[in-house]
Every structure is written in structure tokens, then in C-alpha cells.
């Protein structure tokens, strides 16, 4: 009698529900992971503006994101870059892409790309203006100045 009880008891738990749950969690994190945020320098402290609204690209995906720290340095994927040469290169790429729709476009003409400026709140104007002027010289006219609409937790 006791021998049969010993043989029927199983020491192996049923792992299937746990595996289901773990896969659901993995799926969730895979879906919410945002690789685009790698372009954003999260060390920057953006200014806080009450009326700033979340980005609505209205179908326009052609954005040039410029992270500018309080020393006026441009960082792309967390690597510092030379401002003028980087913007010139991006303008060239934007021009080539825009020529697919409008072949008559010439260097210096207005480009359809929107320049997204993410500058640190402590950046002096003359450093920021250098970036803006460089963009304008290369044909960029549409700008989007990034800001938070509320203070991030822990910030003063």
C-alpha cells in the first residue's frame, strides 16, 4: 500500500503555467521596448514649458534629432559630433531623399525635414544659435523645440 503511494507521488512541478506567464512578460517587454529612444540623450535636462505638447508627426517621419548639451556640444547616439559637418551631411541626405519627390530641388532650397532640437535647459543662447544658424544655412526651415510639460520626478 505504502509502496504504491510512493510511486504515484510526483516531485516534478508543472512548469507550463509559469512558462506561459514568463513568455507573456517577455512579449510585453519586447513590444514596449523603444529603440528610437537610443537617439535621445537622456542625460539632458530639457526646459519645462506648460504648453509643450507631445510630438505629433502627422505622418512625417523625416526628423533630424539634435541633442545639444549645456556646453553646446552636439551628441548623436551619445557620441559627440562636429556640428557643421554633421548637419551638412544630414542636409545632403535630406536633399537626396527630397529629390525623389521634387527633382528640381537645389542645395540651399527649403528641405522638408524637421529639425528636432533637444537642448539642455542651461545651454546659453549663443551656443544654441550656432546650431540653428548652421541648420538654416543648409536649408532646414522647420524646427521643433523639445521641452517637458512637467518637471521630472526628482528634479529641482
Amino acid at each position: 500500500m505504502s509502496g504504491s503511494l510512493y510511486h504515484e507521488a510526483s516531485a516534478q512541478p508543472n512548469l507550463t503555467p509559469m512558462l506561459d506567464m514568463v513568455f507573456q512578460l517577455v512579449t510585453f517587454f519586447m513590444l514596449v521596448i523603444n529603440f528610437k529612444s537610443a537617439q535621445l540623450d537622456m542625460n539632458l535636462k530639457l526646459p519645462v514649458i506648460g504648453s509643450a505638447r507631445p510630438v505629433d508627426t502627422k505622418g512625417q517621419q523625416d526628423l533630424l534629432i539634435l541633442n545639444i548639451n549645456n556646453q553646446g556640444q552636439l551628441t548623436v547616439y551619445n557620441a559627440p559630433r562636429d556640428i557643421d559637418s554633421y548637419i551638412a551631411g544630414e542636409a545632403q541626405s535630406s536633399l537626396l531623399a527630397a529629390r525623389l519627390k521634387n527633382p528640381s530641388l537645389q542645395p540651399g532650397d527649403e528641405l522638408p525635414t524637421t529639425v528636432v532640437i533637444r537642448a539642455d535647459r542651461a545651454t546659453p543662447f549663443h551656443l544654441l544659435n550656432r546650431v540653428i544658424r548652421s541648420c538654416q544655412e543648409h536649408g532646414f526651415r522647420h524646427f521643433s523645440l523639445k521641452a517637458m510639460n512637467q518637471q521630472a520626478a526628482g528634479e529641482t
Binding site: 513568455f23 523603444n34 537622456m42 514649458i49 542651461a122
Partner: protein, 158 residues
């Protein structure tokens, strides 16, 4: 026959751990959209208006379409003083009221704002002014989005 799920569970937990550790939700960022043409001479004369030669033009502002806001920073990079044209304004609230009265006038000729900024002004202080400007509506009902920045020479800033 039962599959051994322990190995698969190990792998799934490792993946889960990776995603949990690397998960960093991006904060919701807002934006202010602007159309910024290159710097031009302030208050260009509209080509359709003969401001100097039109005897019927009694409005000295006719033909001028840029409203000029000057901001001089203080030592800390904040706003030291502000002025619309020649008229000083003390606060952003005062700037807002003044812009409303100027741009709300149906006869207002202005359709763009030129912000003259001292070189040491911090970006957050500048954005406060830009925020006030982009909240304004033109007599046509459209929002003001045409802004230009002009850097004031150092001699004009403290």
C-alpha cells in the same frame, strides 16, 4: 512523454531579466513647432505696400511685418529685461498681455516675431518667451509660428 521545460524556462527568465534591466521608459516630451527662416533685416517692407510713396498710407506701421522682442539676460542667464519694440515689459505675463493687445488688433500688420536675444540667455528662459509667443493668434486666426532669433552683440548685454 513529457518535455523537460526547465531549460526553456531558464532561457525565458534570462530574456525577461534582460528586458527588465534594460527597460527605461522614455519620458513624454512636448514640443513647440516653429518655422524659422534665416535671419533677415528686421521689419522688411512688404513688396505689395508702397510705404513711403503711398499718400493714402497714414499708418507708420504699414509695410512692417516683424514685431521685435528684445531680451537682455542677467548674470545668471535668466531674463534681465524685456521689451517689445521700445516698450519695456517686466514679466512674461506682461509680455503675454502686450502681445495679445498688439496681435489681437485686426489692423495689426505683424505676422512674425523677431526675438533679439543676449548671447548669455539660458535656453529655458528663452523657451519661456517662445512659449508666450507661440500661444498668440494672428488677426487671421492662425497661430503665430513664424519666429526668428537674432543674437544681440555682447556690448548690449551685461
Amino acid at each position: 512523454m513529457e518535455l523537460n521545460l526547465a531549460a526553456m524556462l531558464d532561457m525565458a527568465f534570462q530574456l525577461l531579466t534582460f528586458f527588465i534591466l534594460t527597460f527605461r521608459p522614455a519620458p513624454v516630451e512636448g514640443q513647440i513647432a516653429l518655422r524659422m527662416p534665416p535671419a533677415q533685416p528686421i521689419s522688411p517692407v512688404q513688396s505689395t505696400v508702397q510705404a513711403g510713396n503711398n499718400p493714402a498710407n497714414n499708418d507708420p506701421l504699414q509695410g512692417l511685418n516683424s514685431l521685435v522682442i528684445s531680451i537682455v539676460p542677467n548674470a545668471a542667464g535668466g531674463i534681465g529685461s524685456m521689451a517689445i519694440g521700445e516698450g519695456a515689459v517686466a514679466t512674461l505675463g506682461g509680455l503675454n498681455d502686450r502681445l495679445k493687445s498688439v496681435l489681437g488688433d485686426q489692423a495689426s500688420p505683424f505676422d512674425q516675431v523677431v526675438i533679439q536675444v543676449g548671447s548669455g540667455l539660458r535656453y529655458d528662459a528663452l523657451m519661456g518667451v517662445v512659449d508666450v509667443c507661440t500661444r498668440q493668434k494672428l488677426p487671421s486666426g492662425q497661430k503665430l509660428t513664424k519666429l526668428s532669433f537674432v543674437e544681440l552683440p555682447d556690448a548690449q548685454t551685461p
